[in-house]
């Protein structure tokens, strides 16, 4: 995957992208509140005020008739000029640039990045191009750590920007594992919907995929499922299906798909019966399965 795959198409925000919300409330003019001396919230160059400097940027709020692309460009330029501001610019991306479904058409971002995910990826890419690799990794980790669900999803969708290799893989795997521990389908989907999930070991990846079945995340959201599904995953999915059937519950189509996708282990009962049918095939003997 290249940057191009996760960044919004230049100059073509798509017909479904709404304009940003009404402008954030303007600051109180002529009023500069005294600080109580608690210091900077940001480790790298932020002055902790967040206010005056941010608002000196030319309007990105849509009230002046600027388009989505102009507003995103201005935001990206702002991050390039002052990467220390990313801590409060990143959360504000939707309000300043816009929000809506991305190419997948899914506004929840389960089936693919939303428009605002792409805009946030552009911010992350600007950060990468502006600061050193060590600080870039620290900032990405902090954006995730302090992110709400929308921001966390955007960081997960941006993980390919970290590149590959030891440190990048460790960071990506750590953030993905965090998302998979939770129960938010948007984050589970984004954690497995990125090529960066290659950094997960097989055990963690299989459990993530199985968790999709428990969390109403469609398997269509999982990146590279057909290539990575293995016999062990098929065994786990078959166990899930058996448990559902034993309880008299419906087996979701995605579970059957997973069983069908996964190569069948040579020693698995049901694969050496000469029919070539796997565990998901209908019984050929007329017996109840």
């Amino acid at each position: 995957m290249t940057d191009h795959d996760i960044l919004p198409p230049a100059g073509r925000p798509g017909p479904n992208v709404p304009l940003a919300r009404p402008a954030d409330r303007a600051p109180e003019r002529g009023h500069q509140p005294a600080r109580a001396g608690y210091g900077s919230p940001f480790p790298h160059g932020g002055n902790g005020s967040g206010g005056a400097a941010e608002r000196s940027v030319p309007s990105m709020n849509g009230t002046d008739g600027t388009g989505v692309t102009d507003r995103l460009t201005a935001l990206v330029e702002r991050v390039r000029r002052d990467p220390g501001a990313v801590g409060w610019l990143f959360p504000a991306v939707s309000r300043r640039v816009g929000r809506g479904p991305g190419p997948s058409g899914d506004p929840e971002g389960v089936l693919g990045p939303t428009f605002q995910d792409g805009a946030r990826a552009a911010v992350v890419a600007a950060l990468r191009d502006t600061v050193g690799p060590e600080r870039f990794a620290e900032e990405v980790e902090a954006l995730y750590r302090f992110g709400d669900a929308e921001e966390k999803r955007a960081v997960l969708r941006s993980l390919p920007l970290l590149g590959r290799g030891g440190d990048a893989d460790r960071l990506a795997a750590g953030l993905i594992a965090d998302a998979l521990r939770g129960n938010d389908p948007r984050l589970i989907a984004a954690a497995l919907g990125t090529p960066a999930a290659a950094a997960l070991d097989d055990h963690a990846w299989r459990h993530g995929v199985l968790k999709c079945l428990f969390s109403d995340v469609p398997l269509a959201a999982v990146h590279g499922l057909a290539e990575r599904a293995d016999a062990e995953l098929g065994r786990m999915a078959a166990g899930y299906a058996a448990e559902r059937e034993a309880a008299g519950r419906e087996v979701p189509a995605d579970a059957r798909r997973l069983i069908a996708l996964s190569p069948h282990p040579a020693d698995s009962p049901g694969t050496d019966d000469g029919t070539g049918a796997g565990p998901s095939a209908p019984p050929t003997t007329g017996q109840e399965a």
Binding site: P27, H31, S104, G105, N183
Partner: protein, 297 residues
């Protein structure tokens, strides 16, 4: 009856409460950050709590058809603990988020110098971030705490209507009314207001700049007390429109000053843009019955 509860601590409530609130007409709420009953011992404990307010709790509410917003702050009680005040350094990260519609709860608990310092600091943060403020008034020495609150608000330069002074009663309503601040009343058994007394205040003072909340939390409280107040208003001769003004339009007007209300997203999603995913569509939409909890963990 549609209800916007401007102060309710859902973290301390169950999913049954979400169901009953939805049935009673609650469609949106604000959960201010507060003391959890058990003292925290470090800033990380606050960060996890704030993450819950902008993350899991918002998601949980959406599953029951309720739009969840929050207010973020270091609460007055824990502003006295030097192990906790460091959290003020990370507040700007949270104050920049969508759905964070105010700074709060701030204010006084025991009227200490430490509380005043944190209060001032957070009033300044509200000015910088263009956010409204939700102020808790103390249980002990309430009138003195409320007077000092109004002095600090005036010094801050914030427009008074952008400051909601909460937990008012018969003894503090006139003081706050004169300041121009928004007036908050908590309908909370035993210690705060009840529906009958609330209606009496509305009859005497009028509906302008008044919001009513349940302040329901881990104590003896009732997340339906907003609905009970609406019913009491109708019994006392107020119109449906009057009830709508107090229970919906007034709080919406107050928090809309943040520019961060998420209400427009709560309209039913009937578009075709979600084709291919039959799972999440309509989960936020009103016509659907509240969904069940996630099955895992």
């Amino acid at each position: 009856m549609r209800i916007f509860d401007p102060h309710v601590h859902m973290t301390s409530r169950t999913t049954d409460d979400y169901r009953r609130m939805y049935e009673a007409g609650v469609r949106a709420l604000v959960e201010p950050a507060f003391w959890l009953g058990q003292p925290r011992t470090n800033p990380g404990s606050f960060h996890d709590y704030f993450d819950g307010l902008v993350g899991w709790e918002r998601f949980r509410a959406s599953r029951y058809g309720i739009r969840h917003h929050c207010a973020i702050a270091l609460n007055p009680k824990e502003a006295n603990d030097p192990r906790c005040t460091e959290v003020l350094r990370t507040l700007p990260r949270y104050l920049a988020k969508d759905g964070v519609v105010a700074v709060g709860e701030v204010g006084f608990d025991a009227l200490t110098a430490e509380e005043e310092k944190a209060f001032r600091h957070q009033l300044a943060l509200a000015a910088e971030h263009g956010l409204p403020v939700l102020v808790h008034t103390p249980h002990r020495d309430k009138a003195a705490g409320t007077r000092r609150t109004l002095e600090l608000v005036a010094e801050s330069g914030l427009p008074p209507e952008r400051v909601l002074v909460d937990h008012l009663n018969e003894t503090t309503v006139d003081l706050v009314d004169g300041s121009g601040c928004t007036l908050g009343f908590s309908i909370y058994p035993d210690t705060k207001m009840d529906p009958v007394r609330m209606v009496r205040i509305l009859q005497e003072r009028g509906l302008e700049r008044v919001v009513v909340n349940s302040a329901a939390d881990w104590g003896h409280s009732d997340p339906l007390s907003t609905a009970h107040t609406g019913e009491q208003m109708l019994r006392a001769g107020f119109t449906e429109d009057d009830v709508d003004r107090v229970l919906w339009r007034n709080p919406v007007e107050f928090f809309a000053r943040s520019g961060r209300l998420l209400l427009e997203e709560a309209v039913p999603d009937t578009g075709g843009a979600f084709a291919g995913n039959s799972v999440l569509r309509g989960r936020h939409a009103e016509p659907d019955p509240p969904a069940t909890e996630p099955r895992e963990d």
